[in-house]
Structures are given as C-alpha cells and as structure tokens.
Symmetry: C2
Subunit: 465 residues, 2 copies
C-alpha cells in the first residue's frame, strides 16, 4: 500500500499522460506529475514498449520518480535509480513504502543491494532488513510495518496523544491493534471508538477481542483469501509466537488475488514461468517466447503418441475410411470436455470451495456430468450417421447402423473419460502438493487425444473385424 493516499484530483486520460511522457518538454512532465494520479501513470506505463519506457524513465526527475515509485514496476524504478546521483537515490528510496522498497531490494542483484541499503535512514534500514527475511511470496514478504498499535492499559486520552504522533506515518488508523507486553494481539479498536468515547475510558473496554491473523511464513495467497473471506481492511501478520509483525492491507489482497488469477489462467493455457509485474505490451517478444515454447515443444512431441496410434490402426482406417470423418470430432470433444472439468475444479479449489476431503464428491459429480455429456453427444452423432449422412459417404463394406453404434459409443466413452481425467489430474496434483493449474489443459489435452484415438480405433477394430 502506498504510504499515504494520493491527493490527486481527477482521473486523467491515458493518452494525455502518454503524450506528456513521450514529449521532450520537462514542464509537461512536471505538469502531468502534478495532475495525474500515480495509478493512471502506472496504466500509461503499461502501454509503453520496452525501449520507449527506458527513454521516458531516463528523463524522469528524482522528485517525480519519488511520487510514482510505489506504482511502477520494481525493475523500472531500479533502472532509473542506477543513473541518479546518490542524493537523489536517497530521496527516491525514502519515498517508497516499506513493502515496495523490500520488493525492489529483493528483485535486484544481490551485489547491488548493500549500496542502496546504505543510503537508507537508520529506522528504514532496520525495517527493510527485518522484512527481507521473508520470501516475496509469503505473508511476511507482503506486509507493511506501518500499523498503529496501543497497549491495553492506556486510556482514550493517552491513546489519542500517542496516535497523534504517528498519524501521518501509519497506513491505517481505522484498525489499531491492542498488544500485550510481548506484542501479542489482544484485540483491535477503531479510531471511531476512540474519537467518540470519553477520555478516561481504558482501551481494554473498547477493544474487540479479534484474533484473526496470519503467520508470516504462510503463502501470500492464503492471507489474501482471509482478507476476502472476512471482509477485512487489514490482516495482522504474526510470528510463530503470535507476536504482531505487521499488516497486509486490503489493496494488497486485491493485487495478490488478481495476480494469482492471471497465473492460473496462464498455466491452464500452457504458459510457463512468471509474469512478474510487467504488463503484456511491456514484455519483449523474446520474453513472451521463452514463457511459451516449453509446453508447445513438449506437447507437440507428446502428440506423436496419438500419431503412433493412427499408424498402428492403419488397416482399420484404410478399410473403413469413413472413420476419418469422425476422428477429429472424437478428439476435439475429449479436449473440450476435459478442459471444462479441469477449469471448474481448478477454479473451485483456488477459491477455497473444497478441499482434499471432498475429492470423492467432486469426482462423483464429474462422473455423472461426463455420462450426461457423453450420452448426449454420442446419441446425437449416432442419429446423424443413421439418418442424416449423405448417400455418397455411406461405406460399402459395413452396415450403417454398425458405424453409428461404433462412433456413438466411442464418443460417449471418450467424453466420459476426458471429463473424469480433467477433474482427476488437478486433484491429484493438489494431493501431491503441486499447483493444480499446471497439469490442466495442455497435459489433459494430450492425454485425451491419446485415449480418444485408442478408444475410437480400438472399438472400431473390435466391432468391424
């Protein structure tokens, strides 16, 4: 979360910002920095190509960079920092909020870190060293330490005095944590409870004994899901002894869940690696290529297994060439139904709708859906073959009802198994503590292509010979 909410007036159109960013006129740059919310600046940056972005960054005065730094990708901030003199580097680092600063430090090369840490004021250096213990993807790696805290024994008057001192520092005053001497959370009070109570009321009487918190080493996604489930403004992060370390705020939860959704979608479509904080247009062609070629190559060659099945059943296909007409249908229907059930199951797991214990019920549900889908498409196709197949396509060496039967049954079997595989694979992945999304569509498609070919020609061989 940015340290203080920006006080910028109005949303500014992306194109206006872009033309200011791209102009060589420093006054226009300063004017737009004055006028536009950094959130809009971020959006404009997302549309800049790699090389344009560097040009813009290289022109950015330190004062402007300081204002935008919380919103720009860490790599961009680092790029500009490198070319600034020490004094201005200090200014920018100082303007960054805790969590963004730590993000920046964690993403840079290890040997670059000390020179920047050195520039930080004592207190900030301490905070970032504390925060850097936690890996980026954990709750601790995402928290800020700028929350307000109170002891339980102070009165409202004393509390307000205390908070007055930190009021511009703290990210949130709407939730103030009440701690014991060990810094364990006793409860929380809201500023409104203080503002509207008599001055001698002890905090202990006002607080909620709320104990929802997350361990620092937990996954950031679990933390974000807690914020979503309990509708929290901020979630306290504690150490293994339940001592308060920091908080994760609602806007971080939003960012985390959006990023996780993107990751899942990408994995489901066989895109590897990590998107990082770079937007689509910002990412160079080669970086896109690197994330995509792996699965394309692996799955391409795995598809040879289906090709081998076609070779093996050469005699069947050549004798009853009408089978070729329905072969793509059998394969496609398997891929489509497998992708459907995989997506349903992966998304439901990501939303925390069920857990390992409910797996039997999920599989049972998908089996019934698979039977219905298979029976529907299978019987439609059988009817089509029996009654709607043009005369010219009728085979000479086998009775039409037999073809209708073979294709219908194969399609039903294929759809049933594909639906089942689609649900089973992500669940198995989860049981083995892998990411369910990674085994989704690409792997499933390859498997059901193979199983579909085997089922189709296997049944045909059995019945026609």
């Amino acid at each position: 979360m940015p340290k203080t909410e920006s006080r910028k007036q109005k949303p500014v159109d992306v194109d206006t910002i872009l033309s200011a960013l791209e102009s060589d006129d420093p006054d226009r740059l300063l004017a737009i920095a004055e006028e536009a919310h950094p959130g809009d600046i971020e959006q404009a940056f997302e549309r800049l190509d790699d090389s344009d972005r560097e040009d813009v960054l290289d022109r950015l005065p330190a004062a402007v960079l300081s204002e935008w730094a919380d919103y720009l990708p860490a790599a961009d901030v680092e790029h500009r920092l490198n070319s600034l003199p020490k004094g201005e580097q200090r200014e920018v680092l100082d303007a960054l909020s805790d969590d963004e600063l730590v993000d920046l430090l964690q993403e840079m090369e290890e040997e670059d870190r000390p020179q920047y840490i050195e520039l930080l004021p004592e207190e900030k250096r301490q905070v970032s060293e504390d925060l850097m213990q936690y890996p980026e993807e954990t709750a601790g790696g995402r928290m800020t330490m700028r929350m307000a805290t109170l002891g339980a024994e102070v009165t409202v008057k004393e509390a307000l005095e205390e908070l007055r001192g930190v009021k511009e520092e703290a990210e949130l005053l709407s939730r103030i944590y009440v701690l014991d001497e060990e810094r364990r959370i006793l409860g929380k009070v809201r500023l409104r409870d203080l503002a509207f109570s008599t001055w001698d009321t002890p905090i202990r009487e006002l607080m909620d004994s709320d104990q929802i918190s997350v361990q620092a080493m937990e996954d950031q996604e679990d933390a974000a899901q807690m914020i979503a489930r309990y509708d929290l403004m901020a979630l306290p992060v504690v150490d293994e002894k339940d001592r308060l370390l920091g908080v994760i705020t609602h806007d971080d939860a939003l960012e985390i869940l959006e990023a996780e959704s993107t990751e899942d979608m990408e994995k489901i479509s066989g895109i590897g690696g990590d998107r990082g904080d770079q937007a689509y247009l910002q990412t160079p062609v080669l970086a896109h290529f690197r994330r995509r070629f792996g699965w394309v190559l692996v799955l391409g060659f795995l598809a040879l297994t289906s090709g081998l099945v076609l070779l093996k059943f050469e005699d069947v296909l050549k004798s009853f060439y009408l089978l070729a007409l329905y072969f793509p249908m059998v394969v496609a229907a398997g891929g489509n139904t497998g992708a459907q059930s995989a997506t349903m199951v992966i998304r439901a797991m990501a939303l925390g709708e069920f857990d390992t214990k409910e797996f039997g019920r999920v599989i049972w549900k998908e089996m019934r859906i698979g039977v219905l889908l298979g029976a529907l498409l299978g019987s439609c196709v059988a009817l089509q073959i029996q009654f709607l197949l043009p005369e010219a396509f009728h085979p000479e060496n086998v009775a039409l009802p037999k073809v209708a039967f073979v294709v219908g049954i194969a399609l039903t079997a294929q759809i049933f198994t594909s639906t089942l595989f689609g649900a089973l694979l992500p669940i198995l992945a989860r049981a083995f503590r892998l990411d369910p999304a990674v085994v989704a569509s690409p792997a499933i498609t390859t498997i059901v292509d193979l199983s579909g070919s085997l089922i189709y020609f296997g049944i045909a061989k059995l019945l026609f010979f």
Copy 2:
C-alpha cells in the same frame, strides 16, 4: 459490505462448523453461530450438497440467519425466509446490509417482492427502492448508501457531533465525503484529520479535493478496477449530475474482480451461462450439465469440418500414410499456441493493459512470437524426421527430406496462423463490443483444427503429387 465488521474471535475449522450445521442439536448450532465468523460459515455452506443445504437452512433460527445473511447466497436466504413467520422475516431483512438486501430483492420472482418490501421500515424501504433502479451489474447496483457525509462549512466540532450520531450506522468513517448543497462531492476528509485537529477548524480547510468517482450506470467491473488502480478504500458513486448516491467499498471490489476472473476462465474453457453465487459443490449435476453441453455439442459438430478435410485428402493420406504420424502433432500445436495467445490477450484486456488503439501493436507482437514458435517446432520436427525416424517408418514412395520439409513447413505455418488467430479473435470480439473471452479457446481450437488440416494436407498434396 456487511453493515458492521463481525466481532468474532477466531477462525473456526470448516469441519467443526459442518458437523455443527449438520447435527440436529439446536444448541450446537447456536454455539457455532456465537463462535464462528460468518465468513467461515459461508465457506462451510459451500461444501454442502444441494439437499443437505436445504435441511440445514430449514433448521436455522431467524436470529442466526440474521447474523449470516450478508454472507450466504441470496437464494439460500430467500429459501429460508419463505418458511418464516412475518415477524421473523422482518428481523432478517432488517439485518441485511443495503446491497445484499437489494441483491435478494432483485433475484427473487417479481411477484414475491412486494410482500417483503412491505415488511421493511420506512427508511430502508426508500433506500432499497432507490437502489433497485440500478441493474445488478452496474456500480449503482453494487453500492451502499451508508456512507458518512458532511457540509464544507461546518467545523470539526460540529462534524464530530454529527458523526457521533451515525457512527454505528456508517460502513466507513475512514472516508467522509464533503458535499455542497446539491450533494456534489467537494472532497473528502479522514476521521483522523478530524480527530487530531482543533475543534474550530472548518472542514473546508482539512479536506482533500479528491474527485475520483464513478457514474451509477457504469459497469461494476469498471468501478472495481478503479478501486484497484487508485488503491481506494471506497469509491463514490454519483448520478449524471455528479451528485453523490453511495459508495462501493474495497471488499466489494475484491468480490467483483474474483467473480469476473472466474467468468473469464469459464468462458475460455467453453463453459456457458452464469455461475451466480453458487459454489461448485452446491451446484446440482444438471445445472453443471446445462452450462457445459452447448459448446460441447456445437464444437463437436463443427469438428466435422476437419473430418471432411481428411475425407477430401483420402488419396494423399492413403499414399503417404506416414503423414498420419504427424497429423495429431500439427493439430495439437495449433490448439496449444492459439490458446496461449488468446489467453494472453484476453487477460491483458481484462486487466486494462491495452485498448483498441494498441491492437496493431498486439497483433505485430503475436506475429513475431508465432514465427519464432513455429520455426522452432517446425525445425525440430524436420530434424527429427531426417535423423531420428526409425527405419521401419521410412516411406517407400517419397524421399525422407521431402517429408521432413513438408511436415516442418506445415507445422510452422500452422503455429503462425494459430497464434495470430488466437490474438485476433478476442480483439475482434472486443471491437464489436462482445466479450473477448467468449470467442476464446473453444472457437479457436475448432478453427485451427480446420486450418491445420487444410495446411498440412494441402502442402503435402502440392509437394508429393
């Protein structure tokens, strides 16, 4: 957002809640209602089957339902409401927050509405009639009217007096909107600004002149994206004359964006219709079936076009049967690369990373990626055929390098066109104001199956005959 944040202590395990819900002992039910956060109750409900859920609902006392109503699906609340006496219906309705109440009213049959609206206290009736003007998917349909407002001319002392009266009613006091006589937003103050200022300071001097707001008839997704972009705690919703109507809060933004991600993933996988607020396990088999069979049926029969291509090229395939070995690979690589580029483009558009103006750049980027992917896989396969194909597979009637060339070129062409189609289709859909996700994977797969078959056998025929 729930009216007031729940004051429940600790997260309770889903299984503990489930066994309490399913037991016949009313005391255990009351105990769990006392103990567990309604967010955990919601999660437990997600794991109940359709029939179990009705049993549990039918046992729920009105007092417990009142506590949970903001968190349960509207259909469940309505189901239970129907069997309660009028007095208890009133109690439950009164406990619902504005936006959830309106949701409930909007989702029920129109003829059932008046009887419930009649039960509402005057003020609440007015509010829900106001809110019901806005369709469910708009910013207005998602807002609450329980925000705190002040005039610009009052002093801090007067403001605090005024807010004291609404402090338990208002959802947020961290953002207080300052309005002119026409209820247009002049700016906002934070409770901390009031709490720590001298009593005679006029509000006008303390406020930020923040003018970020959304029109009531805008899409709720746009509103949620503004909350994400500007890191807001609440976004003011205004009418066409810029008068403040209500606010959308951070937790609603989270819910909206999660739902939109789910919708996109489902559409990309060819799942139709709307999930509503029912979780995976809550949805009956037939409801799942209804959402899935449409695309399966349509795409299945569309796959016949690829089958027709196979029939048309019967002579080519039968003469050079080795082509069958690489046919599934060509088709699969097209599907995989098409799905990759479609997902990339759809997600980037959903995140607002580019707009219609950048379409040319997107297509140009995907074309270059497509060439790289195609050339890589194409040359790998050509090399494999030339140097690694087992002797037994070598064709008699055509030279091996010619086969390597045909398969390699076809694969390259197929991957290039698929990558291009994958990006083009969602972009065209957007240009025609359709949802980009709906034309994604399923449609693309069918198209590239067809184009792949044509390219593959077309090139083979050209070169072999």
